[in-house]
């Protein structure tokens, strides 16, 4: 059973595997919402939904129990929603917003993760980012890194002769 391939005749442009090397060559799409980006948008969407639902319950019902933790839950929810929409919309504005959202997310998960371990008293109730997101299989910790990587990878480059020497064809897997 060799090479079942795509029945619809999408031979060479088959999208690269998520973690794999850049097999697509120079002609690859540079949009945040295409290819692997669709997967990323879906995961962000799930987290936006989950974090919003969770934060809504926490903030509306038992705000007094842990205001700091629940405020951060709300912040996380907003960040995920913004990141999802920005990644899905793409474009210059979308990209800028996505950078900001993913940046906040990265700082948030690292800070809250560290604080929740160092000073559990301050976080009597869990948030998405507590313990570096261990309640969610550490996906909240990985997500911003993947987001940064993806935004970097899909960054727009000036059409002709960019001084930035990026050679998509070679160096398959030399990221440290």
């Amino acid at each position: 059973m060799s090479a079942p391939a795509a029945p619809d005749g999408t031979g060479p442009s088959a999208s690269p595997a998520p973690g794999g090397g850049p097999s697509g060559g120079p002609g690859r799409t540079r949009r945040t919402n295409a290819g692997f980006g669709r997967f990323l948008v879906a995961v962000y969407g799930v987290f936006a939904l989950a974090a919003t639902a969770r934060a809504a319950v926490q903030i509306l019902r038992d705000w007094d129990e842990a205001p700091l933790a629940y405020a951060l839950s709300g912040l996380a929810a907003v960040v995920y929603v913004v990141a999802t929409v920005a990644l899905a919309r793409d474009g210059r504005v979308g990209r800028a917003v996505a950078w900001a959202a993913v940046g906040v997310e990265l700082v948030g998960v690292l800070t809250v993760g560290a604080f929740s371990l160092a000073d559990p008293e301050a976080f009597p109730r869990a948030t998405v980012w507590s313990g570096f997101g261990q309640g969610y299989g550490y996906v909240p910790l990985m997500l911003p890194f993947v987001g940064v990587w993806w935004l970097w990878r899909t960054r727009p480059r000036p059409g002709a002769g960019t001084p930035v020497t990026t050679r998509p064809a070679d160096a398959p897997e030399d990221a440290a």
Binding site: P4, R38, A42
Partner: protein
Amino acid sequence: MVLPLVLLVVAACAVLAGWALVFVVRDRAVILRQLWGAAVIEALVLVQAVVLGVLGATGTAPSDPVLLWGYLVTTLVILPVAALWAFAERSRWSSVVLVVAALTVAFLEVRMWQIWNA
């Protein structure tokens, strides 16, 4: 909450996720049969909602009903979104999204079971 129903949903999600994963590997988009599978899971979750409603009405309420219902509503949203995605995106990535959706529903089921027994 009824354990057999939870297990059934989780198992069905695992099957659907596996099926969709095969499609990812083969670089194929979601097909209608898979969406029927998703519809069956959705129906099972709806049955769960009814069961929870009846249990709640007859006095066997969970310790944290708001949280539980929040999870239930979230669970109900996910597969329809993945289905819409499958129609909009006719590439392998719709299969990836279906894998994510099925695993998420399974995860939420487990969480609901934990909340119910909390």
